[in-house]
Subunit: 140 residues, 2 copies
Amino acid sequence: MEKREAMDQSLELVKRSTLALVGSNGDGGYPNVKTMIKADHEGLKRIWFSTNTSSRRIGQFRRDPKACVYFLDDEAWKGLMLLGEMEIQTDGESRRRLWHPGDERYYPLGVDDPDYSVLRFTARRGNYYHSLANADFDVE
Amino acid sequence: MEKREAMDQSLELVKRSTLALVGSNGDGGYPNVKTMIKADHEGLKRIWFSTNTSSRRIGQFRRDPKACVYFLDDEAWKGLMLLGEMEIQTDGESRRRLWHPGDERYYPLGVDDPDYSVLRFTARRGNYYHSLANADFDVE
């Protein structure tokens, strides 16, 4: 598979995905995986998430920002693995970026609720597969 | 959520899952995630997979057997993360265990094809979630 085609198909997959599987470095040297809602994205380079400040993943990314964000279309046997860094964004602009009316259900204090955390993943490289074909590429 | 209930629901989820997301420790300290077909399981304790000997994951598990096996029901918002060790099984019994008629499509030399590798994951502990409830448990 050509890199260009892999990147085009990757972007298609990210656009139509509502969920991502997020890999982190957990306790005791074990990789961890968790489903998270893709809140926003900028091409393949940045993927945004939000979660509870108190969640296990926030502690893990504070200790080690290395992360994997994986998108999957299991019916078509397509998948994209992005590798990069996950950063916790504390600025007001990032917090407002992902906030939707009604999110007070989860965060009663609103966009400044200290339990509301915004995560921004920055991809360095990717691997896309479709059936038995796959390609590695850098994400610029 | 009670541990007993979490383990019962976990086993249900494993039984009806055909795929798992497998986390490994990849190059440069990055967690990696890959979709794999669940070939067999023994309760929650052991999950079996097969793959190409030449695949990237085999090299990763040779270097570091620490693994995560994640099962997902995204419609019901349920998920199970198992943490443990992934071992490459080279004995004939393990190889025959997962072999199905027709697998010669992928491994032309049959069950002894050197590119056919069998992986056995042994779980140490788990975390099951359903909606906002979740529970940790040890896998005995």
